[in-house]
């Protein structure tokens, strides 16, 4: 085989106008291999030591299954709440002028900038029975700390920027004529939003919500403080991995981690594919 047959062959270099192909490719591939891919071999190595039956026994253990339910349920609630709240925030930030707008805009990134552990202990303190919010909510019969509501709250806090920051630019780019066309055709605010604006935002909204959901599934630091971590009740899957590790049950931790990893990557891929299809339709492909 000649060197020309290789896709990255140096023999083709003269065709590239700009310099640095070899160097940037080398650095990127080295980094991706060493930092991203090589460590995955450790996981698969560990899993290879398990028989299918053992693997199944670990991931279908009652306590672990309960943790899936808690995690997915809370993440779904958090994602849906964020979809509504994020849409509202993005809309208000793009469409209206009001005092404090820039501050609100800056505040949107707080959950990304704030370390998750800090968010965790803060939310736990705020919503515990003698915290500022807990004192208000508990007399109303709403227990947040140490319940799945608290888990959903922590998940929603850490992932709200995903929705806001994906919807915001799309809303900004929406030409004013789209509004005007709907209005000249007699549409009310409600029907114009539902029939015209929302379909434009839909890909971004679903993507943002999907990303928020994926993030919530894997979130750890923000949740463990407020969750209470009662087995079968308020134990999230990421914590299950951690618990297995502390028991030096590496195989168990790996099996559960592989489930989390697979679900996250599959979701990420699904979001990408779905988004690609949607965009294609708007830009000339057949629906």
């Amino acid at each position: 085989m000649s060197i020309r047959a290789l896709p990255f062959a140096i023999g083709r270099a003269p065709k590239r106008v700009l310099p640095g192909f070899g160097l940037s490719l080398g650095v990127s591939l080295l980094f991706v291999s060493l930092v991203l891919l090589l460590p995955m071999t450790g996981l698969f190595g560990q899993l290879a030591g398990l028989s299918l039956a053992e693997y199944w026994a670990i991931i279908s253990d009652g306590r672990v299954v309960a943790s899936y339910t808690v995690t997915i349920g809370a993440a779904a609630v958090a994602a849906l709440v964020n979809a509504a709240f994020g849409l509202l925030l993005a809309w208000v930030l793009v469409r209206y002028e009001f005092p404090g707008k820039r501050l609100l805009d800056a505040l949107m990134d707080l959950p990304f900038a704030l370390p998750t552990a800090v968010a965790g202990i803060t939310l736990a303190t705020l919503y515990s029975s003698n915290g500022w919010m807990g004192r208000l909510l508990e007399p109303l019969g709403l227990q947040v700390a140490y319940t799945w509501v608290g888990i959903a709250l922590a998940m929603a806090f850490t992932s709200i920027p995903f929705v806001v920051r994906t919807v915001q630019p799309v809303l900004e780019d929406l030409p004013v004529e789209v509004d005007e066309a709907a209005l000249t055709l007699g549409a009310s605010d409600g029907s114009a939003f539902r029939r015209v604006i929302l379909p434009h935002l839909w890909p971004a909204l679903v993507t943002g919500t999907g990303l928020a959901f994926v993030r919530s599934l894997g979130e750890f630091g923000a949740i463990i403080f407020i969750a209470g971590n009662m087995p079968y009740e308020t134990e999230i899957t990421a914590l299950m991995i951690f618990v297995r590790l502390q028991e030096y049950d590496y195989a168990g931790a790996s099996a559960i981690a592989s489930v989390v990893l697979f679900v996250s990557l599959a979701l990420l891929l699904a979001i990408n594919i779905w988004q690609g299809r949607f965009i294609k339709r708007l830009h000339g492909g057949r629906g």
Binding site: P175, E177, E180, A181, L183, T184, G186, R281, L282, G287
Partner: protein, 366 residues
């Protein structure tokens, strides 16, 4: 439906600066008329159109009133004005098929007024037939050409049978051939359906060809409103004259009925003093020798024999800017024009506007 505009003014405040986009305008448009708002960018024509549509509001302090027939719509929201609006860039809903786009206005009607699904379908198909797009009903806008999209946009605007159709540079984004076709087609449609239309354009040819009356605008003012023929032949002022076509300028000093400019001379019965005369390219005749009235020596710098007439560019020391003359092909051959040739200009007629921009025209035969 007739449209009456009274004192429609508009200003924008940007920081401390106040820009007058529209000086208070009065305009009466008859039922079934097709009016062109013509002007350069920034002349306020689009602002005026958008105010009529209700997309912008006129300055409230000037006593602005907009009447559609007997109905005062000044305070009526755009969604209740019953207008059809066609946008320059079509503004079709990208996520809807052609059919859904056209049906949109009907489907968002309040339930009591909304036709049945069957009726909507029949009506949309009739409209699509009218704009000759029925086979494309299930396509998405991105799959259509610009001209097709603009026809969909028109069908969508007509679906609610509006009293008034407003078009903002409807053909501005299309190429020359498609423009020409759509223009004719729109005129035909207008005559057939009998609605009242106002369209905005910066293209003189388009305005003159399409409109019943043309309103020429500049700097937020209507400079003149009249039939295309009258606007072209009897421009109200210098702006209108210059905006409607190519213009050649002749600046000089008049003394004893002769205008002098460098080595150029032209008899003109005008009072003594500085003067500026304007000539259209077709009002410029070329001859191998001067006449007793006119001695305007020029040199041919460029010849473009494309189209119905030959365009000849002329230069001379006494000219600030080159002149343009249009010559019939027969004359072109007779004069045997070549680049660098020295000739004399004989004006067929000329125009003159004094400083107050009131109209004053002079004609002379040559």
């Amino acid at each position: 439906m007739s449209i009456r505009l009274q004192n429609i003014g508009k200003h924008f405040d940007a920081g401390r600066q106040r820009t007058q986009a529209l000086e208070p305008v009065n305009l009466d448009i008859h039922d079934g008329e097709l009016i062109g708002l013509l002007g350069p960018s920034g002349s306020g024509k689009t602002t005026l159109l958008r105010i009529i549509a209700g997309l912008e509001s006129a300055d409230p302090d000037s006593g602005a009133r907009i009447l559609f027939g007997d109905r005062d719509v000044t305070q009526v929201h755009v969604r209740d004005r019953r207008i059809g609006f066609v946008f320059q860039h079509y503004a079709l809903f990208r996520h809807m098929t052609v059919f859904d786009n056209v049906a949109f206005g009907l489907t968002v009607l309040p339930r009591k007024q909304r036709p049945t699904t069957g009726e909507i379908r029949a009506r949309v198909h009739r409209l699509l037939e009218m704009v000759q797009l029925e086979p494309l009903a299930n396509r998405y806008p991105a799959q259509l050409s610009g001209g097709q999209q603009q026809r969909v946009s028109l069908a969508r605007a007509l679906a609610l049978r509006p009293d008034v159709l407003l078009l903002d540079e409807p053909f501005g984004a299309l190429d020359a051939k498609v423009r020409q076709d759509l223009r004719r087609w729109l005129r035909h449609l207008h005559d057939e359906l009998g609605f009242t239309s106002i369209f905005v354009t910066h293209d003189q040819e388009e305005a003159l060809e399409l409109s019943d009356r043309v309103a020429v605008m500049s700097n937020g003012r209507i400079e003149q409103i009249d039939t295309p023929d009258a606007v072209y032949k009897a421009p109200a002022n210098r702006f209108v004259f210059e905006f409607l076509g190519d213009v050649n300028h002749l600046e000089g000093e008049v003394r004893d009925g002769v205008l002098t400019c460098g080595e150029a001379r032209l008899s003109a019965s005008l009072p003594d003093g500085p003067e500026e005369l304007l000539l259209r390219p077709h009002e410029v005749r070329l001859a191998p020798a001067p006449t007793p009235e006119a001695r305007l020596p020029v040199t041919v710098t460029a010849i473009s024999p494309v189209g119905a007439e030959v365009r000849v560019e002329l230069a001379a020391d006494w000219l600030g800017e080159p002149w343009l003359a249009t010559v019939r092909h027969a004359d072109y051959e007779r004069l045997d024009l070549t680049r660098g040739q020295r000739l004399f200009v004989i004006p067929r007629r000329w125009h003159r506007f004094n400083a107050e921009t009131t109209q004053r025209r002079q004609a002379m035969t040559a």
